[in-house]
């Protein structure tokens, strides 16, 4: 099950997605057995995150609006990363910037102490009036090019399928020097409280509901020439296998861990059985 991508060896192609496994420090026996952990989104400054409600269940999925709560790169670097380094797995830092500069600073701060970076270009771009970076191929390319200059480590861009074509954005990122792409991030979603007659939550949809969309996106980008990491609704080894058929080199498990923190171990076992039998 070993897998070598970006010139790095991973013990298996099952990773933990950003934001759904904390920093891997709560269930270390899971962290130690996956190929890699994507940290939650790290911003330059600490962030309190959004007011509740932050999660809401929907049909075969959930909407979250955590709002990038995190301690900021300084505390992460000083207090959390040293603990993560003791885990027997690869660490990929999910870098969340609000300006192109943020990305460079965060990556610069952490360079050489982690295994790779995942650029989370889904945050609203403060410079561009709040429109998400991820939808703008030019800025994405700029961010990648800038980050490329400050690190030799693999740079992965996490693409969104919201209101933009990940193929167009992804291609530009690769041209600008991205080593890989991960997709998809959550889909824009809402729910309403019909008793109180108001918005209940506005956030990102994840879980099995979005798996078919994620598979489409991965398949759409399969010929870009860089490794793809498939994310979205993976619950079983069969799901992983679908992503591999779609063109992914590895996958990341997100919401599944909210239902069962040990799900990744089961998924690895199921995948092993599938790949050795067939």
């Amino acid at each position: 099950m070993k897998c070598r991508i970006f010139g790095i060896d991973f013990k298996n192609p099952v990773f933990l997605a950003s934001g759904t496994f904390e920093f891997g420090l709560i269930y270390k026996n899971v962290s130690n057995r996956v190929g890699a952990i994507f940290t939650k989104g790290i911003t330059l400054q600490p962030r309190k995150g959004n007011p509740p409600p932050r999660v809401h269940e929907t049909a075969c999925g959930l909407i979250n609006s955590v709002g990038l709560e995190n301690p900021g790169v300084e505390v992460f670097s000083r207090d959390i990363l040293p603990q993560m380094r003791k885990l027997k797995t690869r660490i990929i830092v999910n870098v969340a910037g609000f300006t192109p500069d943020d990305f460079v600073k965060i990556v610069g701060e952490l360079d050489s102490r982690v295994d790779a970076f995942e650029l989370n270009v889904s945050c609203p771009n403060v410079k561009k009036g709040g429109v998400a970076f991820g939808r703008d191929p030019d800025i994405c390319a700029e961010v990648v090019a800038n980050v490329r200059r400050v690190t030799k480590l693999p740079v992965i861009v996490k693409l969104t399928a919201n209101f933009c074509d990940p193929l167009i954005v992804g291609r530009r990122c690769v041209e600008a020097g991205a080593d890989g792409l991960s997709l998809i991030n959550t889909l824009h979603a809402m729910a309403f409280d019909i008793d109180k007659k108001r918005v209940l939550i506005k956030g990102g949809l994840s879980g099995p509901a979005i798996k078919p969309v994620a598979l489409f996106c991965v398949h759409r980008l399969k010929d870009l020439g860089v490794p793809l990491i498939g994310v979205g609704g993976i619950m079983s080894g069969r799901d992983v296998y679908e992503f591999l058929l779609a063109g992914a080199s590895a996958v990341a498990i997100g919401s599944a861990t909210l239902r069962d923190p040990y799900a990744p171990l089961r998924i690895i076992k199921e995948l092993k059985r599938l790949t050795t039998s067939g």
Binding site: P51, P53, V55
Partner: protein
């Protein structure tokens, strides 16, 4: 944390929308306020587990008392003796109640975790009184049990019961300086009302809300506490009532 697939060894309806499930769960070492995440269905819809407090744990017998309020609890209520259920936990921080004369204030289904606290007090020989309010006289549950464990009890119902009122109206009338500490669990409106009373003793609330993972992974259960967001599932569910900002 461990996960267990356990058989329901007993099911009981207390009222027309509150039922209890009992499991044989050796080796669980729960503390008051702790809860389990129950998987509603093996399928992925509903997707999330439901947090349910430990209401009783004696000689490896675990009791959870559940009120039907929505789809998940409705589906759970269809489970019968002999059915298997997957439980994750126990979750919630390790809170060890002080051995001081205590007042327990329960509203509605909030009585469930306080029942386990009462058990804990009995075991550790802590004296306590209890106030327990419900909507109508048919909504009381675990009453005899609680009467046996508490030194004094005040039962109150909004209607249909000899003592009419709410726990808040009772708390207002009693002398709180008889107690060194209070614990409460109930609907949000009740907690807000109690908070406004500004009671002269420390009050700990057992918070309930919609959770994501229940175990610290997702940051989905934020509650504004003393100026910062805390996670109900791992920093709580027991928090000091005065510190909670219900407006956020």
């Amino acid at each position: 944390m461990i996960s267990r697939r356990l058989k329901i060894i007993r099911k009981k309806w207390y009222t027309d929308n509150i039922f209890g499930l009992e499991f044989n769960y050796p080796g669980l070492r729960p503390l008051p306020g702790q809860f389990l995440q129950i998987q509603v269905d093996e399928g992925v819809d509903p997707f999330l587990n439901r947090p349910i407090s430990i209401a009783s744990y004696k000689r490896a017998r675990l009791l959870m008392v559940i009120k039907v309020v929505g789809r998940g609890t409705k589906m759970l209520s269809a489970k019968e003796r002999g059915d298997q259920v997957t439980l994750f936990g126990p979750f919630g921080r390790k809170f060890r109640p002080k051995k001081k004369k205590s007042l327990l204030i329960a509203g509605g289904i909030g009585v469930a975790p306080l029942h386990f606290l009462a058990e804990y007090f009995c075991k550790h020989s802590v004296n306590f009184d209890m106030i327990y309010g419900v909507r109508t006289n048919r909504d009381f549950i675990l009453r005899k049990d609680l009467e046996q464990m508490a030194d004094n009890t005040i039962w109150v119902a909004e209607k249909g019961y000899r003592r009419a009122g709410t726990v808040v109206s009772v708390v207002k009338k009693i002398d709180l300086t008889d107690y060194e500490i209070a614990y409460t669990c109930g609907p949000k409106e009740m907690l807000i009302a109690l908070q406004k009373l500004d009671m002269p003793i420390p009050v700990y609330a057992f918070c309930e809300d919609f959770l994501g993972c229940g175990c610290g992974l997702c940051l989905g259960c934020a509650i504004m506490y003393r100026g910062e967001y805390k996670r109900i599932c791992v920093d709580g569910p027991i928090l000091e009532l005065g510190g909670i900002d219900f407006e956020v």
